[in-house]
């Protein structure tokens, strides 16, 4: 996982108008489709219900995880616990070695991105094969996903066409159907060879020890059914109490993510049938840091639908790579600083206007803008805020605001700075950053306070 908000990526996104234009308009279409889908159901009631279930699940996480383990084990599975990211990787590598795997076919999993599973498999001599079309594309391109749901949304069809022509040796085409078919044909052979299939987890049901995985392409179905070994990779937060809770999440997830009423495939895995070996790797990797702070606990309610990314005006412009981690957009800016460390990603929460569009969109009503501003406070307190000039300026301003006479002195100083700036056509520091693209309002001769004193 790399570091803080990458302004070079923003610059790159701005310089690549085809890509950023494609991204903005595809995201706008996603949001419009989601809104149409919300109207089909009692959206607000479902959001509240989903929020309440997640709140209960997270508050009782230890009990539910143990219950899940007991039930999953009773259904013939093996649970493996990973306190750290490297423990999770080690478990997977052990499984691959035990079953003699030379390749792993992978359904879509954000935890896999977070743990950089592909890099670790490759360095152990095991070939990771991404099977979701978007993941397949970015694996070929040597990139990371830029979006939770649509990993390759930053690429245009022309980009993908060129990539496939170069890497797969097919004739150039920009027809999405032909490109899909090329990927399908190549991946069919890979399913047949692989000893181990791996998928993420959408919901792990504590009551039954069963697991729901939701997808559209059928690659999750193939990855889980064709190889003799199936590994589920999940964060600790994926557990829900009961099977009866599932219909609520099935109603909201696809609507929020893609505007579908339901995704094409909702797999509900019931345990190992004869001839099958199943494992579930349960990963902490700093999630308990988010859990330990009551003000960030809610971020663990996330169901990874990507709705907050789609609507975010910053994400739409900066793109996913700017966030420097597996998770982009508002939810990424909230969880990455805790998962990867404040010292590495403490800047992310600052790259927001705190507009709150993400919270309106979130199907489980996570309090995202408030968590962003709270994490700013944690970053400042821990010495991980990057803009010390602005921080010092605000500290000075705040001191000046503590009594009326120093307030008046500051106002007089600002007036002079603005007048001088206007005279020479140059402003220092933040005034300059403002004035490069915007006119600076000129303070009238009389402030309100002065007017009030003169007229009363």
């Amino acid at each position: 996982m790399t570091t803080a908000f990458d302004r070079k990526e923003v610059a790159r996104a701005f310089q690549h108008p085809s890509a950023s234009g494609v991204l903005a308009s595809t995201l706008e279409r996603s949001v419009e489709a989601a809104h149409r889908a919300h109207d089909q159901v009692e959206w607000e009631a479902l959001r509240s219900a989903a929020h309440d279930i997640k709140a209960y699940a997270i508050a009782n996480l230890d009990t539910l995880l143990m219950q899940f383990e007991t039930q999953f084990t009773a259904r013939g599975g093996t649970v493996l616990w990973a306190p750290t990211a490297s423990d999770g990787v080690a478990h997977l590598l052990d499984i691959c070695r035990r079953h003699g795997a030379t390749s792993v076919v992978k359904g879509k999993s954000m935890v896999s991105e977070e743990l950089a599973i592909n890099e670790h498999l490759a360095s152990a001599g095991i070939e990771p094969v991404e099977t979701d079309l978007g993941e397949y594309i970015i694996q070929l391109a040597g990139q990371r996903p830029s979006h939770i749901v649509g990993p390759a949304l930053h690429l245009s069809r022309q980009d993908v066409g060129k990539l496939f022509a170069t890497k797969l040796g097919i004739a150039y085409t920009e027809d999405p159907e032909a490109l899909m078919l090329a990927a399908r044909t190549r991946l069919r052979a890979r399913y047949m060879q692989a000893q181990v299939g791996m998928t993420g987890v959408n919901f792990a049901v504590a009551e039954t020890g069963t697991i729901a995985v939701i997808e559209n392409e059928g690659n999750g179905g193939l990855s889980s059914s064709v190889p003799p070994v199936h590994v589920f990779l999940m964060g600790i937060e994926k557990v829900i109490p009961r099977l009866a809770d599932l219909p609520i999440f099935l109603r909201i997830l696809a609507r929020a993510a893609t505007g579908q009423k339901i995704s094409t495939y909702t797999h509900h895995f019931l345990g190992a049938e004869p001839g099958k070996t199943i494992y579930c790797i349960i990963v902490d990797a700093n999630r308990t840091k988010l859990l330990a702070d009551p003000k960030t606990r809610e971020s663990l309610y996330c169901i990874r639908c990507g709705a907050c990314l789609n609507v975010c005006p910053i994400y739409r412009r900066a793109g996913g790579f700017a966030y420097g981690g597996a998770y982009a957009g508002p939810i990424g800016a909230v969880i990455t600083p805790q998962l990867a460390g404040m010292e590495r990603a403490g800047e992310l929460p600052f790259v927001s206007t705190l507009c709150g569009a993400c919270q309106d969109e979130c199907p489980v009503k996570i309090d995202l803008p408030h968590q962003l501003v709270y994490l700013r406070h944690k970053a400042v307190d821990g010495g991980h805020a990057r803009s010390s000039v602005i921080n010092r300026g605000i500290a000075m301003w705040a001191r000046a605001m503590q009594d009326l006479s120093s307030y008046r002195r500051s106002v007089a100083w600002l007036r002079r700075a603005a007048a001088i700036g206007r005279g020479v056509g140059w402003y220092p520091g933040v005034l300059g950053a403002w004035a490069r693209n915007r006119t600076l309002p000129q303070p009238p001769k009389q402030s309100f306070k002065e007017w009030w004193e003169r007229t009363r």
């Binding site: 569009a357 500290a395 605001m401 503590q402």
Partner: protein
């Protein structure tokens, strides 16, 4: 955390009302305060202005500097503590007082005083129960929504209702009204490339309305958009007026 206003809170004639004027308005946009005084006077309320007021601490809060924000919040509670009704012509400073003092410290005096703070639109529409404030303004007006006023305070409907009730005013809704204009306080100078790009999208929406006036309850957002438009079109005929200025007009 959007604040819901209690339907039972109603202003009774003769009660004192304090004007909480954002500090940047005091210096840059004093006519917003003057319009507040004129508007409330027409509504039969003599606004009081606690001279000691400075800054509510929102810039510090948003920058993560909560020690400074807490100090200014405590100061705010001393300056405004005696007032039952406090009205502010700003959604974001209103959200600071009403929501964020409480978010930082639920039991603090600032959190308690904050519950008595209302943004202009909400105060007039919900607390005074007025729709028609007796204003007259001739022109085609669009409304730039401040995100905090809309999402933290739920002031959106009140502001639009008040505008639409102004005689002579031709209200035209801004396309993509829910989308942030990109001001975001220090964000505007820390990430100018993003801020400007968001602002330009807003300018395009404004142009689509054919409005001659852009109004808002937040002078800060208005300053950002006005700054962008004036930089590229110095001779623009567009006017940028705070909601208070339109409601005060006769």
């Amino acid at each position: 955390m959007a604040v819901t206003f209690s339907a039972t809170a109603r202003y009774k004639a003769g009660e004192h009302v304090a004007l909480f004027l954002p500090c940047y308005c005091d210096v840059l946009f004093p006519y917003v305060g003057q319009a507040m005084v004129a508007l409330f006077s027409r509504l039969g309320i003599a606004l009081e202005y606690p001279m000691e007021q400075t800054c509510c601490g929102q810039p510090a809060f948003n920058a993560g500097q909560w020690d400074e924000a807490r100090t200014l919040g405590a100061r705010f509670s001393r300056v405004f503590g005696e007032y039952q009704w406090i009205v502010v012509p700003s959604g974001s400073c209103g959200a600071m007082a009403r929501g964020f003092y409480k978010y930082m410290d639920p039991e603090s005096p600032a959190a308690a005083v904050g519950t008595r703070v209302y943004d202009l639109a909400t105060f007039v529409f919900e607390i005074l129960g007025r729709t028609d404030v007796g204003a007259r303004f001739d022109g085609r007006v669009t409304y730039l929504e401040g995100c905090h006023g809309k999402r933290e305070l739920g002031a959106s409907a009140a502001a639009k209702t008040l505008l639409k009730a102004v005689r002579g005013l031709d209200y035209v809704e801004l396309p993509n009204i829910d989308e942030c204009c990109g001001f975001g306080g220090t964000f505007a100078v820390k990430y100018p490339e993003l801020s400007v790009s968001m602002g330009q999208a807003k300018c395009t929406s404004i142009a689509q309305t054919g409005a001659s006036v852009v109004s808002s309850q937040d002078s800060s957002c208005l300053m950002h958009i006005e700054g962008l438009i004036r930089k590229s079109q110095p001779s623009t005929s567009l006017q940028f007026l705070h909601l208070a200025q339109i409601l005060a007009a006769t």
